[in-house]
């Protein structure tokens, strides 16, 4: 394994008295695709939200591309410009057009010119297959289209790592595939990806590793074939019997 781009060491996090993440150790190599699954409340969303510090951890270290996440603002800016995130609820900005959503960060954070940012945005909208929706507002798009805009918006920052927090859970069944197709394509291009998802087909197809979490711990991690055909832990077996 080459030098890891994400290094998490003995990380602990509490919400008040509730211990959400316990002694998490995780290294992610460049270009690696990791799928994280587990029952609800197991801390999987919280784990990936710690990686771009939407949640602050209390103990242990997180290092992203050699930069340590400690409260420093400079480090935080470095990390956020390298890490894109896609949310379950899309979180597009409803008062901006699709194009404005995509160019916001390139213009205001990366100081690009408007023309340059728009060219880039249109390219990426093409890649997620909605180039003709650029001038519409998010409210005028279907859920699947909105989520693809959200992916394009994150990609506009030219990130090295992408985090997906249950990207298909809020979608109607017939729209799940269009979003997953985009994610598969992205994976094939070599993006480093961490996905919290229950789409086991997607996990089989693209994941290098599947991680199973329960009660704030990483219970089991393995290559997808071994993970699905031969789970070692009782809790993993129980979970898989319910979702597969």
């Amino acid at each position: 394994m080459s030098d890891p781009v994400i290094r998490i060491n003995k990380m602990n996090k509490w919400f008040g008295n509730f211990h959400v993440l316990r002694d998490i150790d995780l290294n992610v190599a460049s270009g690696e695709k990791i799928v994280i699954c587990g029952p609800s409340g197991s801390g999987k969303s919280t784990l990936i939200r710690c990686i771009n510090r939407l949640e602050a951890h209390q103990e242990g270290d997180i290092e992203v591309e050699g930069v340590t996440l400690d409260g420093s603002l400079k480090n935080l800016e470095d990390i956020r410009s390298n890490v894109g995130m896609v949310f379950q609820q899309f979180n597009l900005f409803p008062h901006m057009t699709v194009l404005e959503n995509c160019t916001l960060s390139p213009i205001w954070v990366q100081q690009k010119s408007k023309a340059e940012a728009e060219t880039l945005a249109r390219e990426l909208l093409e890649r997620v297959r909605i180039p003709d929706q650029a001038d519409k507002y998010p409210g005028q798009l279907s859920g699947g289209q909105q989520q693809r805009v959200a992916i394009a918006r994150a990609l506009c920052m030219n990130p090295r790592i992408m985090l997906f927090d249950e990207p298909t859970s809020a979608l109607d069944p017939e729209m799940i595939k269009e979003v997953l197709d985009v994610m598969v394509e992205l994976a094939e291009e070599g993006m480093t990806m961490l996905c919290v998802t229950h789409e086991m087909g997607f996990a089989r197809q693209v994941a290098d590793r599947v991680i199973f979490m329960d009660e704030g711990e990483i219970v089991e991690e393995n290559a997808p074939e071994a993970f699905f055909s031969n789970p070692e832990n009782e809790r993993t077996k129980l979970f898989l019997s319910q979702v597969l």
Partner: protein, 368 residues
């Protein structure tokens, strides 16, 4: 049903007419051109005792507008600051704002007006013992007296210099913005602006010297002469209206900001936007569409509440027109009707302007 209503109205009109005739009260709007014969202690336009009642109406209306416009301005600034403070993570700031809001919105406005007027401003020392700020501004129970700037010939050059600076400011800012969006370049802004401002003032000074003189107020006998006097009635009314309405605006602003989902801030943060930029470009524009409609009601309330001026004899339209003029002329129907129509048109104009603004920032699409 409709017939009964019509009948009742006909009876009402006939009754009013016969009563007015019996009491020898004129009807019609002829009184507006008659001599008023009383003085007013704050007039924005020329007014003497010989002016007409029509002039009284204008003076009163302007005074109402004056206190309303300043009131809306201060209430908005203070209200927004307090609303944001209510959401602060800092315990002290948060609680201070909360205590402010709870006190000022729960005490009747009329009492607050009386408090500032009778409780505070009327209890200031007399002009002879006035509180002096550097011997140029004076605070006394006759109000606040500030120096007036008087312009002599040649002042036009300075006005031109100011205009030039303003134009340079607008042009430079536009140029910097366009360049920034066109190719990401950072255009110089402050240095050329400063150069233009200093150069234009320098040229004006060379051409015209210093054509300004300060009319500093000075104590003559029992009161101040010179300068500009802001009467205590105005200050008390303005304070009460602004502080009272700000408490309501603070709650409206707080609710507006809280109505923007947490996910919006998170998405902005994940895109690397600093907190301030996220607030300006993502949160506030969305909060505004929740804030504007109730904010409009507050502006209307403030304008209408300014009629409480009558309690401390600030010469607003109700006080001088629906008050003094009415007692002198006695034509209650016409006078009250005119006054109500004026408030109604003021409110409708404000509503219209705010609705236009609200429509402009409304969201497109159903999924919001």
């Amino acid at each position: 049903m409709l017939g009964a209503l019509l009948l009742a109205m006909v009876w009402l009109v006939a009754n009013v007419q016969s009563n007015l005739e019996r009491q020898n009260i004129n009807s019609g709007f002829g009184f507006l051109s008659e001599r008023a014969g009383f003085g007013i202690n704050q007039t924005l336009i020329d007014y003497t005792e010989d002016s007409s009642f029509g002039r009284v109406l204008t003076v009163g209306l302007l005074n109402t507008l004056l206190v309303s416009v300043f009131g809306v301005f201060f209430a908005t600034v203070l209200g927004f600051a307090l609303g944001v403070a209510r959401l602060s993570g800092n315990w002290l700031i948060n609680k201070t704002a909360m205590v402010y809001v709870e006190i000022f919105r729960n005490v009747p406005l009329l009492l607050q007006i009386m408090f500032w007027y009778f409780g505070v401003l009327r209890n200031l020392p007399s002009p002879r013992k006035a509180v002096s700020l550097g011997d140029t501004m004076f605070l006394s129970n006759r109000g606040i007296v500030v120096p007036a700037i008087e312009a002599a010939s040649g002042a036009g050059w300075y006005v031109a210099a100011f205009g030039l600076s303003l134009a340079a400011f607008i042009w430079l800012r536009r140029r910097a913005r366009l360049a920034r969006l066109a190719d990401g370049a950072l255009m110089p802004f402050w240095r050329p602006l400063l150069t233009v401002v200093l150069a234009s003032i320098g040229v004006a000074a060379l051409l015209a010297g210093v054509p300004f003189s300060l009319d500093v107020p000075a104590l003559k006998g029992f009161n101040f002469r010179g300068g500009i006097t802001v009467i205590p009635e105005f200050v008390a009314l303005l304070l009460a209206l602004s502080l009272y309405t700000a408490a309501f605006i603070a709650e409206i602003v707080r609710a507006g900001i809280q109505s923007v989902s947490k996910g919006q801030r998170e998405a902005a943060a994940a895109l690397g936007l600093p907190d301030k930029t996220a607030l300006r470009l993502v949160v506030i524009p969305q909060a505004l569409r929740v804030i504007i409609p109730p904010l409009t009601s507050q502006y209307l309330n403030l304008t209408k509440n300014s009629s409480l001026a009558v309690a401390i004899a600030y010469p607003d339209i109700v006080s001088v027109f629906a008050g003094t003029t009415l007692t002198q002329v006695g034509q209650a129907v016409e006078i009250i009707f005119i006054t109500m129509m004026i408030y109604l048109s003021l409110s409708l104009m404000t509503s219209y302007a705010m609705n236009r603004y609200n429509a402009r920032i409304a969201l497109v699409g159903q999924n919001t």
